[in-house]
Symmetry: C2
Subunit: 261 residues, 2 copies
């Protein structure tokens, strides 16, 4: 199978059968991928409210019915417990293990949150000749904790996590306009330039992901990051949480272009 | 006080003191006004999920903390139970009465939902020479039940309610582009033209509001309407709901222009 041109449904079936367990970067070109957070119902209201109050880092693409493993809006027929190549289970905020299928752990009180991913706007940046360094260098994007507070909701509170892409000065306005068209996948940058302004004191050593090269004449540009909700949830140390493993996303049936409208 | 140029804080104070109990149309030019729905906590998760699944008719501007009568995002320091000129109380889906202050009814399990209002984009339409008929004719906007299903969430389900504005054919694209810039106040039209396509069989007799004149060479254009959530809630006949009275809105500190970004 040519993963770049395969349909999301074909790839999800392959993953469901356990025949693909790798990262999903670059698969099903043009289709949105989504972050997963699964929480027990007793935490779901607080998290839904946290997402409502913090749409920049937590753009919800779909929320499942309680106990349901199926989706209806972004990936009709998908099995949330099987169609992601790799999952993580956290107990009391500590990583317990990685799994390729979490159906044996499923509970009738689970609610699944599918959260937009900045991967959706990177295609538009590249198409418009704005470089995306971590793709050029085959790395994970560098991500940082900041001093930008999220709005609290119930038990959930914490600061925003951001991703960083170095952009040539002349292309910064274009990068803002392109990503600003896609608020459902984090939208416009949250900060442009001096990292210390948002509490990042060591740009060379990201808190998550890998550092990428910043060329002469480029400025670091920071976008709200989908790691924020996971980070905030882990701080509250809930008994049991399932997430995707970083880079191993749900491939949805939603075309990136349709996230603009 | 000149209500058109007064600040939202000044007008809210006057309303809080019971010195103004009328409609808010045209007050505090340039500032967004908001619909109110107050529900007990046991219904709040389902309604928050309903809004997440139906952002076109239910764009949430702010959700209060449980039991709190104050807001922090759209109207710092506002008292939800006093700062709206007129409220309605519904019991089991039936209108029980209208009040200018609902503080005596407040309960510690109440959650307040503030929902965006299309009034915010009408200023931009008028500024761009797109006529807004119900303002020209000093009427309430005509609103209709449709056959467009909302996505259900828990106990809440039903069809979308739409508002209608007649637009000259040549200005329809401009009306789409202007309102499409403001998804937090219903955004672009949901339908343009033949009303029967969306289940409206008698355009002359709106289900809510008043009919306005459609001139030769104009097409009816329909937008998702903030009456939808109230309509959906009333169908489920909850024991106790507080809303604003139609036309008597919360005047927020949010400038309409800031709802675009």
């Amino acid at each position: 199978m040519d993963f770049e041109t395969a349909t999301p449904r074909e790839v999800r079936q392959l993953i469901r059968e356990g025949k693909y367990t790798g990262q999903t970067s670059g698969m099903c070109r043009g289709y949105a991928q989504a972050n997963l957070v699964v929480l027990p119902k007793d935490l779901a209201y607080d998290f839904l409210l946290f997402a409502q109050r913090n749409p920049r880092p937590c753009p919800l693409l779909e929320v499942s019915d309680t106990g349901s493993r199926t989706l209806h809006e972004i990936a009709e027929g998908a099995d949330i417990a099987k169609d992601i190549p790799k999952y993580r289970i956290y107990k009391k905020g500590e990583l317990e293990g990685e799994y390729t299928d979490v159906s044996e752990f499923w509970r009738r009180d689970f609610v699944s949150f599918l959260i937009g991913c900045s991967f959706s706007f990177e295609g538009d940046l590249i198409a418009a000749d704005v470089p995306v360094r971590q793709i050029e260098e085959h790395k994970n994007v560098p991500m940082y904790n900041t001093n930008i507070p999220c709005r609290s909701a119930g038990v959930f509170h914490g600061n925003m996590v951001v991703s960083m892409r170095p952009i040539p000065y002349a292309l910064v306005p274009k990068a803002v306009l392109i990503t600003g068209q896609m608020p459902r996948v984090h939208g416009a940058p949250i900060h442009i330039g001096d990292p210390s302004v948002i509490g990042i004191n060591d740009l060379e050593h990201p808190d998550y992901g890998e550092m990428v090269t910043i060329h002469e004449g480029e400025v670091p540009v920071f976008w709200p990051c989908g790691v924020t909700p996971q980070n905030v949830i882990m701080q509250s140390k809930p008994d049991f949480v399932i997430t995707h493993a970083p880079g191993h996303m749900l491939i949805t049936d939603v075309k990136n272009v349709n996230l603009k409208y």
